[in-house]
Amino acid sequence: MKKIINTPETFVIEMCKGLIKAHPELDFIEKFKVVKKKEINTNKVSLISGGGSGHEPAHAGFVGKGMLDAAVCGDIFASPSIKQVYTAITKTESKKGTLLIIKNYSGDCMNFNEAAALAREDDIDVDAVYVNDDIAVKDSLYTVGRRGVAGTVFVHKIAGAAAEEGRSLAEVKAVANKTIQNVRSIGFALTSCTVPAKGTPTFELGADEMEYGVGIHGEPGRQRMPVAKADDLAAAMVSQIDEDMSIAGAEVAVMINGFGGSPLQELYLFNNSVSAEIENKGAKIYKTLVGNFMTSIDMAGASVTVLKLDSELKALLDAEVNTPALKN
């Protein structure tokens, strides 16, 4: 696999440095791989997210006005360490406290929670929400729950807008959780991703096969199946989202998220299919985002995210945002 690269070891640091050079309003703490706003507003709740790298622009691309205050960058597909997260918390400390937005993976949960425990010892008010929007894998009492995927971007946007309004930590957490309760995603892969250190695809797919319900690290999903047409995929995906969270009569925000290896022309085409299916289900589309927001390095494929809205979520979704990867 050919990549634009120097060495796998320096990959994440060089990527973050390049991001900062393009966006001088951001700072990069190289030792701890934390991308943060240069100016921290200590009168609003600080929002921190992060996780393994490989999902660009998530999460560093969402640092800026109206979204995150800091993103902690782990190695490719590996959670950042306790000390990295702790550094992000202390370097963005605000009088109003800190909310961690964690994608629901064991590594992320452990490192972010242990870091939060350390920060609380320093009297920093830290709380956390866990995004678990992926409906591909059935949750049960016995599993660790669903995975957090592209719906996380909506959580960043809405919690970010609520924090900018000056809401309290409890209020920002509540609206973040409301978003989490109303957001669902499902994705498919046409190819595997290739992790730089490994250099070969994580999984093998035949020329006429796809992985349905795939995760954003190349983890398996629901099933391996023959490649389907866009309209058929859209129908299946929207139906499954609707079965999990009825959207009839609702106003919704939709995200067609590319995994990094599918061109925009395919994502727009897919949006044409998906939006028709959503309207068929009796939902009204309030806002649509199409692009690469939560990628899986170079995986071809896409996910559909649907967020059910009320007037509060609509206002927060429309609020001012200015980050490298999302602006209005």
Binding site: D75, F77, S79, N104, M110, T143, V144, E219, P220
Partner: protein, 216 residues
């Protein structure tokens, strides 16, 4: 051999680091079957750093040595491996205490403490720690620790007890092939993890076997 000195412990941990570094790619491949493929890399990263910082570790006694290892491992192993392996070493260090020599009974206690250390870390994040049958590295670590405890009670030789413990870890890892994950790396894919061993459990089997072989 019926005692492990501080020096012996440093040799054991150094061997462990070498085994982990050698197996970086195979461990990643195991993890890609049902996990996210980072296990080998994350673990090796921490143990490579351990070797790099080796001269700065604390060699005063067994507890101090294991604790200084825990600090490097917690910080430099990526993913969930940092908190898990870091807390195992930290708990082991505390159980060992400031002694320069341990026997089989103490080794068994140290391993049991490592189990509890990992479970407590899990409890803080997930409300419960992993137990045998969840398809995590606990499935290999608990049988190994229990085997050491049983051997200690039976008054067995240290080295043969360690051989039995390594075999128990391998058998425990093997048994994870048959079950669906309830926690850990494959906890989100449940039934689709059946047929593949847990990478953490399998890794421990390989590591313990390698350590025992190097001592034999």
């Amino acid at each position: 051999m019926n005692k492990i000195t501080t020096k012996d412990m440093t040799v054991i941990i150094n061997t462990m680091a070498d085994i982990i570094i050698e197996n970086e790619v195979p461990f990643c491949e195991l993890d890609s079957a049902a996990g996210d493929g980072d296990f080998g890399m994350s673990l090796a990263k921490g143990f490579k750093q351990l070797k790099k910082e080796w001269d700065e570790l604390d060699f005063d006694d067994i507890g101090a040595f294991l604790k200084s290892c825990s600090m490097v491992i917690m910080e430099h192993c990526g993913g969930a491996s940092g908190p898990i392996w870091g807390s195992a070493f930290r708990a082991a260090a505390k159980a060992a205490g400031n002694v320069e020599e341990i026997g089989l009974a103490e080794l068994a206690e140290i391993m049991q403490a490592a189990v509890v250390g990992i479970q407590k870390t899990g409890e803080r994040s997930f409300g419960r720690g992993a137990v045998v049958g969840d398809k995590t590295l606990i499935d290999a670590l608990v049988p190994a620790a229990d085997s050491l405890s049983a051997s200690a009670d039976a008054g067995e030789e240290l080295l043969s007890a360690m051989q039995k413990a390594a075999a128990a870890a391998v058998a425990g890892a093997e048994s994870t092939k048959l079950i669906a994950a309830k926690m850990g790396r494959a906890g989100t894919v449940g039934d689709r993890s059946i047929g593949y061993p847990d990478a953490g459990a399998f890794g421990l089997g390989v590591i313990f076997t390698g350590i025992v072989n190097s001592l034999s």
